[in-house]
């Protein structure tokens, strides 16, 4: 189960696996966080998703995180996901999501 970690306005810590098997829970969790953030005006200027406690990730999980971050960016929020363990970072890199996690859509 991905659990909500320390919740405050700008830091979201994810815990456990971010994979297809748990993506529904993850989605519900992030959707809950997304709603207040994307109000007008947005309630924060910067949001960090902390991946330090993520133990596994796949393409489906990456996509969901990327979409979450992208949605926030559309609201003018500087959103990024970081702090992943080397193994997780490697996986994110392999899957090609680095750009989406750090700054936004890569240039085609």
């Amino acid at each position: 189960m991905p659990k909500k970690g320390f919740v405050n306005d700008v830091n979201i810590t994810l815990d456990g696996d971010c994979t297809m098997e748990r993506v529904t829970d993850l989605h519900a969790l992030l959707a809950e966080r997304c709603a207040p953030l994307t109000g007008t005006p947005p309630s924060a200027a910067v949001v960090h998703v902390d991946l330090a406690r993520v133990t596994g990730i796949d393409a489906c999980g990456c996509q969901l995180l990327a979409l979450f971050l992208e949605q926030l960016r559309r609201q003018g929020i500087a959103a990024s996901a970081e702090n992943a363990e080397p193994e997780i970072r490697e996986r994110v890199e392999l899957l090609g999501f680095c750009a989406l996690f750090s700054g936004g859509q890569p240039q085609p």
Binding site: L26, D58, L67, G96, L100, P108
Partner: protein, 680 residues
Amino acid sequence: MTTAGGEQSGVDLKRFNEVFFEECAENLAQMEQILISLGDREPDQEEMNAIFRAAHSIKGGAGIFGFEDMTVVTHVMESLLDRLRNHEIAFAPGMIDLFLEAGDAIAMQLAGHRDGKPVQQEAIDRVRARLQQTIDGGTSQASTAPVSQTQTQAPPAGELPTSYRLAFTPEPEIFMRRVRMESIIAELADLAEAGTFRCEARLAEVPDFAGFDPECCITRWEFALVSRANRDQLADVFMFVADEDQLKIEEQPAERRTQAQDAQGEPALPVEGRRAYDRNETAPGAFGRRCGEAESSIRVNVTKVDQLVNQVGELLITQAMLSQVSVGLDPMLHQSLQRGLAQLERNTRDLQASVMSIRLVPISIVFSRFPRLVREIAAKLGKQVELKTAGDSTELDRGLIEKISDPLTHLVRNALDHGLESPEKRVAAGKNPVGTLQLSASQVGGRIVIDVIDDGAGLNRERILAKAAENGIPCSETMSDEEVWQLIFAPGFSTASEITDLSGRGVGMDVVLKNVQAIGGRVQIASEPGKGVRVTISLPLTLAILDGLSVAVGEEKFIVPLNVVIESLQPKAEQLKTVNGREVVQVRGEYLPILKLHSIFNLETCVTEPCRGILVLVEADGERGAVMVDALLDEQQVVVKSIETNYRRVEGSAGATILGDGRVALILDLPELFSMHKQL
């Protein structure tokens, strides 16, 4: 991480796994087919590539769907094939058998995953070890050959790397299919020259987060790499997850112009590009092209097809109902209605034929297993056999295919074991030492006819008669040849002394006959001494529709399957006898028991005496009898319906059908009627 294809799989996942299982089975079959066709010959480049490709796709698919165990044997096999292909190891005839065994091991694992069948891990380990030994032994022998250290299919040195860009637009369900993108991307990265691989994921859209289905894939991938692999090898990485239009591969023309491109005079376009390699089949590493049919066919769940077949069956009944109603109408007054109904009838028949054709599959599916069987049995028996097949593309109902393969296998074993002689005997008889076994299929009228023909010694009339007499089967010297041949179908004809390791197995020809009859088929035998035997199986085109004779008993109607009917007659008083208190009818010197349907089924009718009714002579399971009915009504095709769907099994019936008037009629199960009759 949980394994994607493992035990947690839900129903949906199983559905997707099914696609892999099917493709895996097809790949195995294709591989086996090629291996068998080789005999002991060394495979040519194209064949080698095709075998490699099959093994490679199995490995890839198994990896993607999480069946890690299946990748083990395929991986070693692939490595060996790769070295063979690159002439790092010399081919040896024994490798064919080794590959066949490897195929068996993989098939066993497949069956384990698909049907939960037991898997003998020792056998798998053994094959894997032997493959590895062959690799190690072969590589060390070939001292001049460069030892490839890379695990994947490293293309031979000398081929300059090409720079590629790939764009992959997956289907939205790809996550739900539990496809592991990381495996695919890792595989692609392996093909890249060190440090050249780039992967970029992009979101095709940014939908509202709260309403987004998190399992739906909206990611697009773009890859850039420099690789020695060709376009097809790159495309193969995606073969389980991408259709033609979901993957675009571009070569960067700046890097280098390949020979093929020079020939074409322009850089290859993403779609047509593959042709460049197709033309150049001898290009190192060129794989056999992807099966062309895949592009023009779709996979559909069998239950959907069955549903369609059922619905057309309903339509057929409704149409028959309407026709029946219209009979009573004045043709002058209802001319246009009648014309419309006639048109409806034609349309319905056409539709039925089209729908039935969906269920049809070529008999080559069954035939293709025999080359190997024949090869093995012939080797065991020390016989030389050439197997010929004809009419491989003859199509029959999928349900029949499953049920015909056992009887056919039995007949083939029989022909090899008892039919064909040893080479010495053949030479002594002035024949070619190599015997011929021919399997041929064709469609004749509304039936499928399958022949199993051998050019062996033929059936021995005296021996069959002696054996029949020995086993208490009624027979006489005056019987015609045809009648004598039929004796081998009698239950109990096949005796212990005849049971060999091969064709015996405790069952005889009676089982073949029974199985064939169970699917509405017939078996005939023709034999000529010294020339051989021809066994002919004739089957209906489909299981869902049956040719029947409708008969009336009192208020009820029944369907007698036409394939058991010999003839019908109105008996004369002098033909009727009583034997041990049982009524029998004498037909051409034979006494047949009279099965009175009304008394078996407890029905009221005014026809209780055989000479006032009609006797339908039937034969089923080698047993003959005369079914007594009030009247014969019609010969018609009926749609077979299950009674068991909503009710229990009904004794004496093999299902039911709905007649033109909308009423239900039972289809008679003759073997069961015989036993019910005996209990009366």
